[in-house]
């Protein structure tokens, strides 16, 4: 039935889709390889002699390397903390019956929808009063507000898919709930745990607003650093794009690894 229709409109459409998705990345990478003089040529040039100077300058002279390390520390720590807090909570939501469970679950999920600016205002004042501005731990903690709901949702879903008979058998052998979770359910739930960890990492790594408001120099994140290049008149476009490339590459790799689960994670399971 499809042979009746020519394939070429489909092929053209697919090529357009791929081009539109990929072109900005192509432009980002090529701009990052231009010297300032080439980058400011009007109209822009497509063929030029590439240079890595922007990367060296950004990384080692402007301190982008330190901000990438900060982002990495913060994203990894908040992900680990979300898993430590979220996995047992997910186990309880999937396996135990208790009063207020629905409300609790609702509250966990609602956190996903709250605008960060709502929390950024009070968090800034509190952090300032406690001397916690410009500290890694402040961002690690506040990123829990979006990472914990993600971890709890995905892992609860995963735990529910594990046959209950396995728990039952272990319990008859005298295993405690903690043993059941760690030894029986967790190994089987690893795919969900891994996906939620990837999400948690991506969201934390990508975040700008809290980084902008809650850090200055010591704990400055990479996106906040990229934005701070935007001051003044003669913008260093090559360096800005080099920094952007360094920020984006790790997330793209992670996203491609988790691409099959991406929709499920972004809709918090509404679509599988």
């Amino acid at each position: 039935m499809n042979s009746a229709r020519p394939l070429w409109p489909q092929i053209i459409l697919l090529i357009v889709i791929i081009t539109v998705c990929v072109f900005p990345f192509y432009w980002m990478v090529t701009t990052s390889l231009k010297t300032q003089i080439v980058a400011l040529e009007a109209p822009p040039v497509w063929l030029f002699e590439p240079t890595l100077a922007n990367y060296f300058e950004a990384l080692f002279e402007d301190g982008v390397l330190q901000t990438l390390i900060n982002s990495l520390i913060i994203a990894i720590c908040t992900t680990i903390l979300s898993l430590i807090l979220g996995v047992p909570a997910a186990f309880a939501l999937a396996r135990f019956e208790f009063r207020g469970k629905k409300d609790l679950w609702f509250w966990f999920i609602t956190n996903r929808m709250v605008s960060p600016i709502v929390l950024a205002l009070p968090f800034f004042l509190i952090a300032r009063n406690l001397g916690l501005l410009d500290k890694h731990v402040t961002l690690i903690l506040i990123y829990l507000t979006f990472n914990l709901p993600i971890v709890i949702w995905i892992v609860t879903d995963q735990f529910r898919g594990i046959p209950y008979d396995l728990d039952e058998a272990a319990r008859l052998e005298g295993a405690s709930q903690i043993t059941i979770m760690l030894k029986i359910c967790l190994p089987l739930a690893m795919p969900g745990v891994a996906v939620s960890a990837i999400f948690s990492f991506i969201f934390s790594w990508n975040e700008l607003m809290y980084g902008l408001i809650l850090t200055r120099t010591d704990a400055k994140t990479a996106p906040a650093m990229a934005v701070s290049f935007m001051e003044g008149y003669n913008l260093p476009y090559g360096k800005i794009m080099a920094t952007s490339t360094l920020i984006v590459i790790p997330v793209l790799i992670f996203a491609l690894i988790a691409s099959k689960q991406l929709v499920r994670g972004l809709t918090m399971g509404a679509v599988k």
Binding site: N2, P24, P43, P44, I109, V118, Y164, N206, L252, V271
Partner: protein, 288 residues
């Protein structure tokens, strides 16, 4: 299937998450409510005083606040239909049989925009839409359009990037819906009709509805949250032409230093969000 376990066991499992999220998610909110009831200006910290609901009254009668809110929903109202229309076309193309390699490539490239750091999208916008040496004007045949400095063009640019970043998301959600249609039903329907429209309307649409509602509500929440991309691209300008609600609150609180007023705005935004979230979860997640 569920088992009764002791309260202590339940608390041991779920308590840490509840306490953790309360400390970072609820305590600050209570503090924001407290701040919103005070005159609290970062440049006049000696003069923090209780003023009751005055900040709320100011917000509710503030034209600028409601304009920002209206602008936010206007963005949603223009970008979302585009995302759904384009997303549906992409999903239908990817759902067709054949051309496996090209389609796999297409699906993978759809993942890229969604994962891109929002701030980087804004920076890319600055570079690509620059009036003088931007590639967009070049591709438009050497046009001399001032994208960032003109209010209407700047708004269009925000729509463009929002559509670029989130159409793939809509497409993949709808594609997931299309693959839920049982093959036998789709084939039986194809024998009955040659019209793709009839097929879409009567056979495939019912399977797309859950995804569409999810998209609607998530895009609503994300538009209310929208900050990073716009901040790096236009900072809300020129004038206030791209100042969406989260940007406005940030400006009042951190560039205008009026934490009291900004907190009142934030509390009102929170109430709107919770109402929408209630709706969201009532409709979708009947689980637990």
């Amino acid at each position: 299937m569920h088992r009764q376990v002791s309260r202590r066991t339940i608390f041991a499992f779920i308590g840490p998450a509840v306490i953790g999220l309360s400390l970072v998610g609820i305590a600050p909110l209570l503090y924001a409510v407290w701040t919103s009831l005070h005159f609290y200006n970062l440049t006049k910290l000696k003069r923090v005083e209780f003023i009751g609901l005055e900040n709320y009254w100011k917000v509710l009668t503030d034209e600028v606040f409601w304009q920002a809110m209206g602008r936010t929903f206007f963005l949603l109202g223009t970008a979302l239909p585009l995302q759904i229309a384009l997303g549906l076309i992409i999903a239908l193309v990817l759902h067709q049989p054949g051309l496996t390699l090209l389609k796999t490539l297409g699906r993978l490239s759809l993942v890229l925009p969604m994962a891109t750091t929002y701030a980087v999208v804004g920076l890319l916008g600055q570079v690509m839409f620059n009036q003088k040496f931007g590639v967009v004007n070049q591709l438009l045949g050497g046009a001399n359009i001032n994208w960032i400095g003109d209010p209407n063009n700047a708004f269009f640019m925000i729509i463009f990037w929002d559509v670029w970043q989130w159409t793939p998301f809509v497409a993949l959600v709808l594609l997931a819906g299309l693959t839920m249609v049982p093959v036998e039903i789709e084939e039986a329907a194809r024998l009955e009709t040659k019209s793709n429209w009839v097929l879409l309307r009567f056979v495939q649409l019912p399977f797309l509805v859950p995804g569409l509602v999810a998209v609607l509500i998530l895009r609503t929440a994300d538009t209310l949250k929208l900050f990073d991309m716009v901040f790096t691209l236009t900072r809300g300008g020129p004038g206030s032409s791209t100042e969406f609600i989260s940007l406005m609150i940030q400006r009042v609180g951190f560039r205008g230093f009026d934490q009291g007023l900004a907190s009142a705005q934030a509390v009102i935004l929170l109430i709107i969000t919770i109402v929408l979230a209630q709706l969201y979860i009532r409709v979708f997640y009947k689980e637990v």
